[in-house]
Structure formats: structure tokens, C-alpha cells
Amino acid sequence: MRLGMVIDLKRCIGCYGCQVACKAENGTRPGTTYARLLKIETGTFPNVRRTTLPLLCMHCADPPCVDVCPTGASQKREDGIVFIDTEWCVGCRACMMACPYGARYYQDEAHLYFGDVLTPYEEVRYADHLEGVVEKCDFCRHRLEQGLEPACVANCMAKARIFGDLDDPESEVSRLVREEAGFQLNPELGTDPSVFYLAAVR
């Protein structure tokens, strides 16, 4: 099994719904956005085009972040999910240097949204997040265990995100990659990401 995602750039409307859903689901601190968007403008006036590029951890089949981790905190599961066991992370940030996709976030201080006081929400949610460690998207492992899809997939109003088993040729993700020419970001690096994109114009 190789869990992966296909993101249809033609469907994505750049609403930031995935980013907000991820933040709400994982209770991440300010500045930490496991799921995020890049807005790319191409062309010159009047022929200008804006493309939204959703980004997250690519859960690479050959993850360089796992190789460089000195403690084994960064791990790859049998189902392909790359995750961080923050109880083992020492915060050396070697994984951040290794990751070409900017998917990892170092939790260096207890940044708060509202001054120096934790809101009741922050008190509850930030308790799950240690300082001095690195965090990232883990395809919402806790939701997968309950038979749910990752929060970004479930909340995408445009149905631009499809999640499934890339090793199953009959799955929707496999079909889309095969039939719609799904592409990876920076395949030349040899990381073999498990997140594929479908072109905005096709």
C-alpha cells in the first residue's frame, strides 16, 4: 500500500479551505501550516494567469528527511506515510535542510496568536505540540485510523483533492495519475513524491 494524493489544479479555486481545515484539525501554532497554498502569476498584462498550487508534505517514497534524521524520529510507515515522532525529535533541523518541498516547521518558541496569554482554545490544542521539535503533515493519521480522509481532502469544496492507494491500479488516484498525466514536483531530485498534480490547463 502506498497512500497518496492527487491535487487537481484545474479544480482548485484557491479558497484556502484546506489550509484552514488543516489548522483547525491539527491545532498548529502561528506560522505553522502543514497544508498551504502558493499563488503563482504568470504572463504579462493583459495575458496574465494565476495558478494556485496547494502544498503539503509529499510523503516521498524515498524521503531524504528520514535518511538524515539522527534519532529516528522521522519515519516512514508501511503505508507510505512519513511522520515525525516528536518524542524522539531533538530539533536538529537536518530534515528541514533535506526536504526540498519546505514541508517541515520548527517549533522554536511558544508563539501565540493573541499576545502573551493562551486562549482557551490554544491551551487545549497547543498542549499536543512540543517546543524545540520539527512538525509536519502526516496525512491526518488520527483521522485515517477512524476511516476518515485527511482534513484537507474532506473539506475541499471544489473536490480538488483525491486521496487513496497509489499501489492499487483501480483506485481513483491511480486512475487520475495514469489518465490525466499527473505530475510530481521536482522529480529530478529522486524523492518520488506521493502527491501528484493535474495540470491547470489540459
Partner: protein
Amino acid sequence: MALDDRLDLRRSDLSLTYRPQREWIEGRGLLLVIAHFFSAAGAGAWIFGAWFDVRAAQIVALVTIAILSGWAHVFFLGRWSRFWRMARRPHRSWISRGLWSMGIYMVGAVGVLLVGGDEGPIGDVLLAVSLAGAGLLLLYEGFVYSASVGIPFWRTVMLPLLSVAYGLRGGAAVLLILAALGEGTFDIDAVEVVKLWVVLSTAVLVAIYLAAAGRAGGAARESMRQLVSGRISPVFYGGTIAVGIVVPLALGAASLIGGSALLLLGVIGGASLIGDFYVRYSIVKAGVYVPLQGAGLPAVGGRG
């Protein structure tokens, strides 16, 4: 840095095609560069101290590695009390190997210093162990950076070579400073020749490294551009080139021709060490991530 400043910085990085790395150079990240500087200079000082039989250099080496480098490494970490966990994966991680190298070196070095002038088999074994550890310390730093897939400027076999060369430079510089301070009796002329050779070698290696980066294109070329004509050029030309290469070469050549004044040798050593630090600082600060690219997409940064 205040939260708003950090978020603004992150947003501005997002607009860049070539997003600079900041975790290993800004804030506490600077401690990592300092740690690598101390471990390399210490390892070089140990090797030269053993070669020229200068006990003072060996003591300086042990203190530099065990205390200065060791603590800088530890306090760089986000969860420093867990540092021992970094020993878990020497089969995969160069950081793990670095920790083991430091341990191997310290066992051998402490043994050598305790045994004193014992030339017997025990002393020989301890010396061999310490030299092996010092050699690994010289190497590991370069490989830690070259393992960074996300930063093409570092992803080259030149970095381990530079790491070794600059470590040996640092070691020779320590000997020159000790000579200026009147510590130890040794063949200072031989040290000068070695020093001159190492300085020339590092200058050539830096030139080759930058030329290769320029030809590589993309993010590596951008890093090189930032180093030689961009935001890092003042530090690079001032610290790495002027103080670190030109001054030692000029003064070294002058001392070879006109005779060695000890104070002059101390200045050469000091300048060389400053250059050693700044070459590391410059290379680490120049690291930019490979821009994200896919079919039909223009190259973009990636931090959200």
C-alpha cells in the same frame, strides 16, 4: 525576533523563487556554524599537535572539541537534553556519525593526554583512536551539509573536501598562535610551509567549488551569485577572502622570505582562523532551496 517579524519574513521568503535557508544560520542556528568551526579547528589542531609533538596543541584541541564545539552543538538543539539520542543511527545519518566521531576522538585524546609520553602499544592505540576520531570529525561536517537534498549549493563532494582542508588549516593556525604565545618547541618553519600549502589549497578549492556551483545552474548558481555579488558578498570578500586568504598568504610569504617573527605568525594564525569561520558562515548562509517545479509550472519558492 517578534512573532510578526518572523511571519513577515516567512511571507516574504514565500515570494522568492530561491528561498533562503534560515534554520541553520539565524538565531540559535548560528551555534551550529560555530560548533562546526570549533570541531574542525580542534581536529586539525590535534592532528598537527600529534605530528609535530606539541602537547599544548593537543590540549587546546581537546578543550575546543569537547567543550566549545560540544556545548555549541548541544545548545543549538531544540531539545538539548535529548542530545544523546543522536547516536542512534550511525548507519544512516551523518549527524549520528559526527557524534560517534566526537566520542571516539575524546576517548582516544583523553587517553593520550593521561598516558603522557608513553610510546608503548597502549599509547599507540590511543593515539590511533584519537587520530581516527579527529579525521572523522574533519570529514563529517562536510557530509552533513552535502546530505541536504533541498539545497543544491551544498550537495557536492567539494564540501567534505573543503571541510577537511579548512580543518587542517585551522589546526596549523592553532600551532602558529601557540608558537607566538611561546607554547611548545617545534619546527616552526615546517609549520609555516604546511600552513602556506594549506592556505593555497583551500583558496584553490573554494575557487573550484564556486566555479562548479556557477556551472550547475539553478539554485546552486543563485547561491554562488549571492556569495560573490549579492547579500553575502561583504562577509565573503571581507572575512573569507581578505582576512582568511589574502592576509595569511601575504604575511606567510613575507615571513618565509624575510624570516619569521613570532608575533607575525600569531597574526597569520588568527587571521586564518577568522577566515575559517567566515567561509563556513558564508557557505551556510548562501544556501537556498531548490525552487519547486512541475510540468507547466514556473519555478517558485515553497514555504507557506
